[in-house]
Every structure is written in C-alpha cells, then in structure tokens.
C-alpha cells in the first residue's frame, strides 16, 4: 500500500513527484514525498491541518521552491524552469486557491479576463468575451459577469474562482481545499461541479482536502500525507477497509 519511489516520467502521468523535501527553518514540512497523477485521474491528497498539503500544491505550481527532489509536470521539472518556461506550464495547470483569491478591485469579467490577457494567447477582444461567458455558463453564474466579488456569496465566489481556473482550459486542475468554509449543501454542489468539469474537459485533478465528503465523492485515488511523507495511496474504498490504525483515524 505504501507509495513506491518513482523516478521516471511516463506518458500516462501528467504529474510525478520524486523525493520532494521542503522545510521552513527547523520545521521539515515535506520529507522525501513521492506521488504521481495519471491523465484523467482525480487524486485527493488527504492530511491533517498543517501537514503540508498547501505547501505541496504551491511547490507543484512553482510558488514555492523545494529544498530538493523533482516535480515533473508534463515531463518538465518545475524547480528547474525559468520564468518563461514556468509560465508555459502554468497555462496548462489551473490552480483554485483555498481563499478563492479573486481580485477585489476587479469585476467578475475582469477577474476572468486577467489570466487570458496575461498568458498572451493572442485571443481577440470579441473572443475574450465569448470565452469568459462560456466559463461563467459552465459554473452557472453568467448573470454575475459585471458584479464585484464583494457582492457575491461564499459559494458563488468559489464558483467564480473555478471559472477563472477553467478559463485557460487547463489539462490539470489543482484544488486547494475547495470546500473549506462552505456549508454541506454548497460543498456538495461544488464537488459535483468539479466532477462535471473534469468529465467535460477531460482534466486531471489534484485535490487537497481534509473534508471526507470531498474525498469520498471526488476521488479516484487518495494519497495520505503524514509527517511529510506519502504514507499510503489507494482507492477510497480500499482505504476505508484498511486495518492500519493511522489510516483508520482519517476514516472513523
């Protein structure tokens, strides 16, 4: 059950992490962490609060530099990439932040247009509007296009954040605690929306969560992060049956 150390990138994998280490001062957050995400797969990384899940996801997108180890995204080792190369990878990898990170000073339309304009995809203004509207329709919030983020509810902000993540048609979507701060019903709606989008655009998803509903509904596989290491990787059903006391504490 314990994840095996992997070193080579294959076409089946869109993401492969080898021996990833990251510490902040004396605090070793990730310690030889290994993981792989297959094309079209939905993998949930489960761990306690403060176990380094968000650090992991920020290392993958290049917001944090690991101390050692490799993170292959579409065959490119993220820590070795320069700024332009990293931007290219980031246009294929969507990142939905835990706090949504919508730009408060911009309307919903401007929030969604921002990554489109910044990644210089050469899309015309007319096409921009069409793409923005299509992304908003995907999350069922086309009517909010000219609203400010402050005028939206928590669930709506989450959907808009998802629409912004989708706008570049990423091949991988990284979700950082997508259901945190939402009530059970809204959380379930967000999870269903995530699944719908994954099916529609055939994306691979890496979901960071400690919400067991999210783990149960959204995962093809679950990786358990304990003490900076990938303690176990398996399907939800198999992990649920596990007799390992450490794994059991997550599912009891």
């Amino acid at each position: 059950m314990t994840d095996k150390k992997t070193t080579e990138f294959t076409n089946d994998n869109v993401l492969k992490i080898n021996d990833l280490c990251k510490s902040f001062g004396e605090n070793q957050v990730l310690d030889e962490f290994n993981l792989e995400l297959k094309r079209g797969e939905s993998l949930v990384v489960l761990g306690k609060s403060g176990s380094g899940k968000s650090v992991l996801i920020k290392c993958i997108i290049g917001l944090l530099k690991p101390d050692s180890g490799s993170i292959y995204v579409f065959g490119e080792n993220v820590p070795d990439l320069n700024h332009d190369e990293l931007d290219k990878i980031r246009s294929k990898v969507g990142f939905m932040f835990q706090s949504n990170a919508l730009y408060d000073s911009m309307t919903v339309r401007e929030n969604l247009e921002f990554p489109l304009r910044r990644h210089s995809l050469g899309i015309s203004k007319k096409d921009n509007d069409r793409v923005v509207l299509a992304a908003l329709e995907d999350v069922g919030l086309a009517h909010t296009i000219d609203m400010m983020p402050a005028e939206l509810s928590g669930g709506m902000r989450k959907r808009i954040a998802l629409a912004r993540t989708l706008i570049l048609k990423p091949e991988i979507i990284l979700y950082d605690e997508p259901t945190t701060g939402l009530d059970t019903i809204t959380a379930k709606e967000i999870i269903q929306l995530m699944l719908l989008i994954q099916k529609k655009y055939n994306t691979s998803s890496l979901i960071i969560s400690h919400d067991m509903n999210c783990v149960r509904l959204a995962s093809n596989r679950v990786a358990i992060l304990i003490d900076g290491k990938c303690y176990a990787t398996d399907t939800y059903k198999n992990l649920l049956k596990s007799t390992d006391s450490i794994i059991k504490q997550f599912f009891d």
Binding site: I61, L63, R90, A101, D104, H119
Partner: protein, 255 residues
C-alpha cells in the same frame, strides 16, 4: 538584550527594504511595461488625492498668513507678508505638508491594499496567471507616487497661495494683482527647483515604503492593519529625513 534584539530587527528591516528597493530598480525599467496599470494608478493616486490635498493646502495658506501677520506687524514689515508666505509655502511648508497628507492617504491605502492581497493569496494568483506581481503591483504604484506627488505639490502650492491671498485680505485690502506680483517678484528659481526635486523623492519614499509594508505583510488581517499603520509612520519619518538631507544639499549648492 532587548536593545540588541530591537537593533537587530531594525537592521533586518533596513536590509530587507534595501533589497526591495534594489528589486524595484531591477524590474522597474525592464519590459513588459505595465503601462495601463501605471495610468490607472496615476488616476487613483494623483487625481483622486487632489480634493484632499487642495483643501488642506487652502486652509494651510490662510492659517499661515494669519499666524505670521501679528509678528510681521510688530516688526513693521507687514507689507512683505505675501513674499514671506510665498517663500515659506513654496520652499518648505507646501512640499512637506502635501507629502505628509499624501503619506497618510496613499501610503496607508497601498499598505492595506497590497497587505490584503497578500493574505488572501491574490498576489500568488497573479503570479500563477502569468504576471510578475512585483512589476504589476509595486513598480506601477511606486512610479505613480513618484510622478504624481510633484504635480500635487505644485497644485497644492498654487491653491495655498490663493488661500494666503484671502488670508491677507481678511485684515487689509490687497489687490489680486499686487499680491501675485509681490509673490513672483520674490520667488526665485532656487526656491522652486529644490522643492520640486525633493517632492519626487518624497513620492518615491511613500510609494516604496507603502508597497514594501503591504507586499511583505504577514499574520492575516491583523498584519494588514499593522502594514497600513507602519507604512504611514515610516514614510512620514522618511519625508523628514529626506527633507533634512535636501536642505543640506541645497545649502551646499547655495540654492
């Protein structure tokens, strides 16, 4: 021990600010230029500050004139009031008071805005969206502050002098033409130029310190408040330090 640790943390902050400043000069003049964001910031920082700067400058002109009048009357030089007020406003009071008001309004707003963007991961989101947040947020704001404050100082000086004209006329009857001819007869190039140049430095300091405090904000919403507050305090102190250096330089150059 406490003094040592205070000194160490002060030196740490100075070092970080120096690095932040170096980063500004590294990125500030490199393409891609965020020209539309720079213009937007000029509008927000410059145009939207004008009513506040104008009002305070106007009041300052009246008050300064009314405060000076009795002393000048005692020495029998009341007729020189427009000239003295003009020199005081253009050389010192105008740039420093305008810069302090500017630090209060803009320094705190930049500190709070960037601080809240930092703690709500908006700066990270910008980076993920293929944007260099330092260039987009910091460089544009620092440049807008640097170029807008001198303009505000000039406009503030003009409004202040108009306030002074009204102040003079509260107790005497001085014609509009006489007042302005006295002002311009007594103002020389050496009064205007150093004040104009130092206001660029004031603007740069306010923009840089506000951005630094916001961009390096930590500890959630409490940290945002602290960033906004210390942006105002530090940039106000910096304005006086720059003013002190500027007066030494102008004295050496005989201006």
């Amino acid at each position: 021990m406490s003094i040592q640790s205070d000194l160490k943390s002060f030196l740490d902050v100075c070092g970080e600010l120096f690095r932040f400043n170096s980063r500004f000069f590294t990125y500030g003049f490199k393409p891609p230029y965020e020209f539309s964001e720079f213009l937007k910031q000029c509008y927000v920082i410059g145009y939207k500050s004008l009513p506040l700067i104008g009002l305070t400058a106007f009041i300052m002109g009246i008050v300064l004139t009314m405060q000076l009048r009795p002393s000048m009357a005692d020495y029998g030089v009341e007729s020189q009031l427009p000239a003295i007020v003009a020199i005081a406003i253009v050389r010192e009071v105008g740039p420093v008071i305008t810069a302090l008001i500017f630090a209060g309004k803009i320094g705190s707003s930049i500190g709070a805005e960037l601080g809240s963007m930092k703690v709500t991961e908006q700066i990270d989101a910008m980076e993920v969206s293929g944007t260099n947040p330092f260039m987009y947020l910091v460089v544009t704001r620092v440049l807008a502050c640097t170029f807008m404050l001198p303009i505000l100082v000039m406009l503030g000086d003009a409004i202040s002098l108009y306030g002074a004209y009204l102040g003079v006329n509260i107790h005497s009857n001085t014609s509009f033409n006489l007042f302005w001819s006295q002002v311009f007869d007594n103002l020389v190039f050496g009064d205007v130029l150093p004040a104009f140049i130092k206001s660029f430095f004031f603007g740069f300091a306010v923009g840089l310190i506000g951005s630094y405090k916001g961009y390096t904000s930590t500890k959630g919403t409490e940290g945002v408040g602290r960033s906004a507050n210390s942006a105002v305090v530090v940039s106000s102190v910096m304005i006086f330090i720059i003013d002190l250096l500027a007066v030494q330089v102008t004295n050496i150059w005989g201006l």
